[in-house]
Amino acid sequence: MKIWIEKQKHLIDFTLASLARRKGKNLGLLFIYGLLVFVLASVALYTHALRTEAQKVLAGTPEIVLQRLVAGRHDLIPPGYIEKIGRIRGVQKKEGRLWGYYYDSVVKANYTFMAPRNMQVARGEIIVGPALERSRGLAAGNGISFRSYSGELHTFIVADVLPQTSELVSADLVLMHEEDFRAFFKYPEGHVTDVALSVANPQEIKNVALKLMDALPDSRPILRDEVLRTYASVFDWREGIMLALLSAAILAFGIFAWEKAAGLSAEEKREIGILKAIGWETGDVIKMKFWEGLLISLLAFLLGYIAAYLHVFHFGSILFEPVLKGWAVLYPSFTLTPHIDGLQVATLFFFTVFPYTAAVLVPIWRAATTDPDTVMRG
């Protein structure tokens, strides 16, 4: 056992020395390899984080949201409408919600203004999400004015900033008192934006929706599950495009690695011959090259993954923005919550490190099994 460890130490020593000798070639390889891992890991981290984010968004939303349609378009819900729903079995709570979008021309971003039901905001005060805190440099106690759609200026005092649990949920939120909300948007008295219904039993959601359509033919119930599915398919579709591009990249990399490895230089072949002649077993040579491949791919993996992590969670995935963030119009600017998934890392590791190591070993194996007497002849 001790001898075995000592042997591996020797092999690694030699591997490091021999890697250092071909610096240019190995750095080039490391770079391309790392780049591949970087792109793959970025996509994986990004889509995974988005999906988690979306789930968090929807987890806080009611099972059913009821909108009223006028001429096929979303319209306000007039007073008395909610009462018309009556009692439906399974519905635990129904309440009208007041919210709307506001375009801030100063920073060219959309905010969601909302008068919350579960939270008290004093008149003249607002509670803002982290995105506003950043873009407008707000902190508790500051004052801020918004020009309403009717042209008047409304000034609010920031009472608090929402915690940064999930940015997608709260980034662009501006919470205010109902009276302030109505005044700001000139929202008609008694009207609400939509109705939120909580249904405890997931099996009953469909039934409740059907009954709602019966009771209120001009309404459109939106089920949370459907939204979830839509999100999922949007993500999957985008991921699909990326993956298609990536598989092309992987293929190219495979060919590159194969060529690099298969085109063992005469020098390398000579070295393998020498090692065999002076008493290395075929297995020793292969192990040495295995360490070499493993070191390169591990290093590339680490570098690529770390770079991807920084890219996605600290630099807002700038490189992917055009492809992946078509929907960011809804959610102006946000930082994803850092998240690493073990299985995802394992998968990525398997699909990058394993093929390379294998691709390197095959030609080495061929070279290493040739007869050692060839070194006797220059």
Binding site: F14, A20, E281
Partner: protein, 224 residues
């Protein structure tokens, strides 16, 4: 020490360019002696050396090492025998470029799993013996031909082999360096190593340190 009986070696056997480089060799290499193989170019000296040193297997015939038949052993065992029993000095030295002298010297010992510290001490002592102690960290491609050969000698000795095998050891050296080489060889022979070498060089073959001369021609021994 080493006994060959009816050794024949074919290259490209069964193909149109089949060539018998050795055509029936019977030879006994005495222990702790210096044996020189000579003969015209193409007579099969190197080929014979590869068989003696377990670098290659004969097509026909038997090789016995200390009485034990090793011609039928699988590759793995041959490698182990090669590592334990033989040290090689190649004509082109065959050092690994980019590595330092001392790293080259310890290479044959890696598969033995001996601790690195011990190996480095041993290698240092060997290099000092051939007056190369001060060049141990130099990359081998910066060394002169004579220095390279001395590194190669140290490498051949790191596993303390009983038999040293050298193919045309002086072919790349001038007379002075060849003389130095013979001096080193003499020291090794005196310490009781078995040495087998091939050479065209009369200076080597006719020197007094050589105890036995074997002359080859067309793959056969013509004089012994």
């Amino acid at each position: 020490m080493l006994e060959l009986t009816q050794i024949r070696k074919a290259f490209n056997q069964g193909k149109h360019n089949e060539y018998w480089a050795l055509a029936g060799i019977d030879l006994a290499i005495p222990e702790k002696q210096v044996t020189a193989l000579r003969g015209p170019s193409g007579s099969g000296k190197t080929t014979l050396l590869t068989i003696l040193g377990c670098l290659a297997r004969p097509t026909e015939g038997r090789v016995r090492l200390k009485g034990e038949d090793i011609s039928g052993l699988p590759e793995r065992f041959l490698t182990e025998i090669r590592r334990q029993t033989f040290g090689f000095i190649f004509q082109q030295f065959n050092l690994i470029r980019g590595l330092s002298a001392i790293e080259n010297v310890v290479l044959p010992a890696y598969p033995t799993g001996r601790p690195r510290k011990e190996l480095l001490e041993k290698a240092e002592a060997l290099l000092a013996d051939v007056n190369l102690g001060h060049r141990r960290e130099a990359k081998v491609e910066w060394l002169s031909g004579g220095e390279q050969q001395r590194v190669a000698i140290c490498r051949a000795l790191i596993n303390d082999p009983e038999v040293l095998i050298a193919d045309e050891p002086t072919a790349n050296l001038d007379t002075r360096l060849a003389g130095e080489f013979l001096g080193i060889l003499e020291g090794l022979a005196d310490k009781g190593r078995t040495i087998i070498l091939t050479s065209h060089d009369p200076m080597v073959v006719e020197s007094e340190i050589v105890n036995f001369i074997v002359t080859l021609r067309d793959g056969k021994i013509v004089e012994q």
